[in-house]
């Protein structure tokens, strides 16, 4: 299942010979390969879980809660693995952002569909506000990964509502994801205001999601503009607001 990583092993082993830090290179390669395998297993796990849930619908509150924890944790692992792989690729292979013209609503619906079951079992009502014809220029895999991660995160913290919207603004295309949860904690809000948003490892939780979102946003640039993210607690729904701006 890991044929792609194997295919790239030529480049990697070439690095290996030349690189003084060969230990590190080969370790990260092993890491990436096993992440890839984990992702496959997880795919099986998620599909089997969906099967089980449709065969044996929850009998009571407790069941329902257990199912939804299983779903959330699986979705979270998946989105983290996708991020890890993407970050690895961006650092190690010839992978650059691949900008294409895309229909924004398609990309957003795809990520919503991916998490449909999760949101439903948590009774979260989802609103999508996006012009059917809105066009964007970005790497749909990378941006899709960012959106997925934020949705999964919101599924954990929202109470009842989640709103995903996209529109053109003077700062570029803006994709926003807002919820009615408790909002982002201060350390995250502060981190996001720094241009070079380093994650706060000292605070216990490395906000890998933010690091990834930030990296992806910055990789989208045209002649004079660069993408960025903006985190706040000024949401229409009363909770946190995540905005991704792309030139």
């Amino acid at each position: 299942m890991s044929d792609n990583i194997k295919n790239n092993s030529n480049t990697i082993s070439a690095d290996h010979k030349m690189n003084e830090e060969s230990q590190e290179v080969s370790f990260s390669f092993v890491l990436a390969s096993s992440v890839h395998d984990m992702k496959n297993s997880l795919g099986m796990l998620i599909n089997t879980l969906a099967d089980v849930m449709s065969k044996y619908p929850p009998q009571n509150q407790e069941h329902a809660k257990s199912y939804s924890v299983l779903e959330y944790e699986a979705a979270r692992i998946n989105s983290e693995l996708v991020q890890l792989l993407s970050l690895y690729r961006l650092d190690h292979d010839n992978v650059r952002v691949h900008i294409d013209e895309v229909i924004v609503v398609d990309i957003l619906s795809e990520q919503i569909a991916r998490n449909f079951q999760l949101l439903q079992s948590r009774n979260i009502e989802l609103m999508l506000e996006c012009d059917e014809d809105l066009i964007g220029y970005f790497d749909s895999d990378l941006v899709g990964g960012v959106v997925n991660n934020i949705i999964v995160n919101c599924a954990r913290y929202s109470k009842q509502k989640l709103k995903i919207s996209a529109q053109k603004t003077i700062e570029g295309l803006c994709i926003s994801i807002e919820d009615d949860g408790p909002g982002y904690p201060d350390d995250m809000l502060n981190a996001s205001t720094f241009a070079e948003s380093r994650t706060n490892f000292a605070g216990g939780r490395p906000h890998l999601g933010l690091l990834f979102a930030n990296k992806v946003s910055q990789m989208h640039k045209d002649k004079s503009h660069q993408g960025f993210i903006r985190l706040s607690n000024h949401s229409d729904l009363g909770g946190g607001s995540f905005k991704l701006f792309l030139p």
């Binding site: 299942m1 044929d3 792609n4 295919n7 790239n8 030529n10 480049t11 890839h36 992702k39 496959n40 997880l42 795919g43 099986m44 998620i46 599909n47 089997t48 969906a50 099967d51 998946n78 996708v82 792989l85 993407s86 690729r89 292979d93 010839n94 992978v95 650059r96 691949h98 900008i99 294409d100 013209e101 229909i103 398609d106 619906s109 795809e110 919503i112 569909a113 991916r114 449909f116 079951q117 059917e132 014809d133 220029y137 895999d141 990964g145 045209d222």
Partner: protein
């Protein structure tokens, strides 16, 4: 109640994991897809596809043994068959589709990342069928070769600002290029590029420039794409074509090398790289590329016996320049040559071909007995069959005779060939590879020109260019003694410039050894050969300069 739009659809699911197959099939059935087949391997998938028309094929990329999902797509799209128009959805756990797409020339209609949920699949199918329906008039017009109609349909769709603007622009650009409407194509791409630097539009622009004869601008566009997206292999391909058109085979080789490093799985590029490296006398590279091409051929519709033969050819040449380094290549080439009849059909032609190659491979490995045996086997078959009239086989036969030391017999056949094919320029060009002086009009002119160029470079003391000239000419006329001596002399010139470069001495020694084997004592250039041999002996015995 609305009628189920999917009821009449036929679908095929291909995955080597049973649980994925079952899950996907169940999802499709839940959407109301009328008929779902499933296949566990690429072979099984190919069997289904040759028996039945599917509306949609959902195929995993990694199927364990045999073809990958992309290779199945390649077969379905490469030539007309029952499923050349089916919607093809490639499924993989890889979240970056560009990595998988890079190696191949055919794009699937959609790409889905695992894990797939019912919702994701349902949504994607709906979108795909909608798009197919919307663009059907355009595809139909193209299928009926009504290109003008297709162009105007695309234009209408684009001006209406439909959500299919982008796919229509891509189709329109290709149509315009195909119709030779270069100005219109240029306008289209320019408009797109004014908004955004999209690589497919830059690629289109490069194609326009190339067709307009402005290869320099085309090159600039392509280099920009590569800088911006190193995975865009179509850019390398086009760049390699441009280099080839310019006759810059060194440049062509370099570009193809970059492309094959990024995407080692592309058979067409490995084949091309093998060819151009052989031309440039980069024999190790050539042998390695042909070996990879042959290996990839197992699962590709682009496999051809020609490349199996070329692998032997390059391994033989390689062993003549560096016997030790070529050991593995010779061993592999023998195996491949022996398998030709099994792989491509047990016809007499294939059997003979296989024996003749084996005979030469054994000869250069010093296995004289085996070599003679293989040659004998070939001869028996040739005597018994009228395929012996096949010119390609006869040429190969002469080569085998020469490798095994049967020079007189080889020369006799060559002179027979010359009288037999005297009136056929194309055949004479083929025979030239056996001759010292070419007999075809084309190759005569070629030798005259390249010798003139090479000598001009030599006189101007531009030895490295002179070396390139003579080297590439020798690839098509390996028996040309004068040219080989010219090459020795050019190398000698270069050595005087770089007295520390021992590689040059090794190269000269191989050339002299080669000439010693083929030059008759009464040859007009025999004296010159002896002189150069002496000079080289003198240099080789000197202590290396530090």
């Amino acid at each position: 109640m609305a009628e189920n739009p999917y009821a009449k659809l036929q679908a095929l699911v291909v995955d080597d994991f049973e649980s994925f197959r079952i899950t996907l099939s169940k999802m499709l059935q839940n959407f109301g897809v009328g008929m779902v087949d499933s296949a566990a391997s690429s072979n099984e998938a190919m069997r289904y596809c040759s028996a039945k028309v599917y509306d949609i094929i959902l195929c995993d990329q990694n199927l364990g043994k045999g073809k990958t999902g992309q290779q199945i797509l390649e077969v379905l799209r490469h030539q007309p068959n029952l499923n050349s128009d089916s919607l093809f959805v490639l499924v993989s756990a890889e979240s970056n589709k560009n990595i998988i797409m890079a190696a191949y020339d055919y794009e699937p209609d959609a790409y889905l990342t695992k894990p797939i949920t019912g919702q994701t699949l349902g949504q994607r199918l709906e979108r795909l069928f909608k798009q197919r329906l919307a663009l059907a008039p355009i595809y139909n017009a193209i299928k009926e070769k009504a290109f003008e109609t297709a162009v105007s349909l695309c234009e209408t769709e684009i001006t209406s600002g439909s959500r299919y603007t982008s796919p229509c622009q891509k189709i329109l650009g290709k149509l315009l290029l195909q119709l030779g409407e270069l100005e219109k194509a240029e306008d289209l791409y320019r408009q797109i590029l004014e908004v955004r630097q999209l690589d497919w539009a830059m690629l289109g622009m490069a194609q326009v420039k190339k067709l307009q004869g402005d290869s320099l601008s085309a090159q600039q566009w392509l280099e920009e794409i590569i800088q911006f997206n190193p995975l865009c292999l179509k850019a390398y391909d086009l760049l390699a074509d441009i280099m080839a058109e310019r006759g810059d085979s060194q440049g062509q080789q370099k570009v193809l090398q970059q492309a094959t490093e990024i995407s080692p799985l592309s058979i067409l590029r490995q084949q091309q790289l093998g060819d151009v490296a052989l031309k440039n006398n980069e024999l190790m590279l050539s042998a390695n590329s042909f070996r990879k091409a042959v290996k990839l051929g197992e699962n590709s519709c682009h496999d051809d016996v020609v490349f199996h033969e070329k692998f032997s050819r390059s391994a033989i040449e390689f062993s003549k320049t560096d016997k030790n380094a070529a050991t593995q290549a010779l061993r592999d080439a023998l195996k491949i040559a022996a398998e030709i009849p099994n792989r491509f059909g047990k016809t007499n032609k294939n059997k003979i071909n296989s024996y003749l190659l084996e005979s030469q491979l054994h000869a250069v490995s010093g296995e004289d007995r085996r070599s003679a045996e293989a040659l004998l086997n070939a001869q028996k078959l040739m005597d018994a069959d009228d395929v012996a009239n096949d010119l390609d086989l006869k040429i190969e036969f002469v080569k085998a005779l020469r490798e095994t030391g049967n020079t007189d017999k080889a020369n006799k056949i060559v002179s027979e060939l010359l009288s037999e094919y005297a009136d056929n320029e194309e055949d004479l060009q083929k025979i030239d590879c056996l001759l010292e002086e070419p007999c075809s009009t084309k190759n005569k002119a070629f030798v005259a020109q390249i010798n003139k160029d090479g000598i001009a470079y030599y006189d101007a003391k531009d030895f490295s260019r002179a070396i390139d000239c003579f080297t590439s000419a020798l690839q098509s006329l390996p028996q040309h003694i004068g040219m080989r001596l010219n090459l020795v002399q050019a190398l000698l010139g270069q050595f005087k410039k770089e007295p520390g470069n021992r590689q040059l001495i090794t190269n000269m020694q191989f050339l002299i050894d080669y000439i010693r084997k083929i030059i008759p004592d009464d040859h007009v250039q025999f004296r010159r050969f002896r002189q150069l041999e002496d000079v080289l002996r003198g240099i080789a015995s000197e202590k290396p300069v530090n």
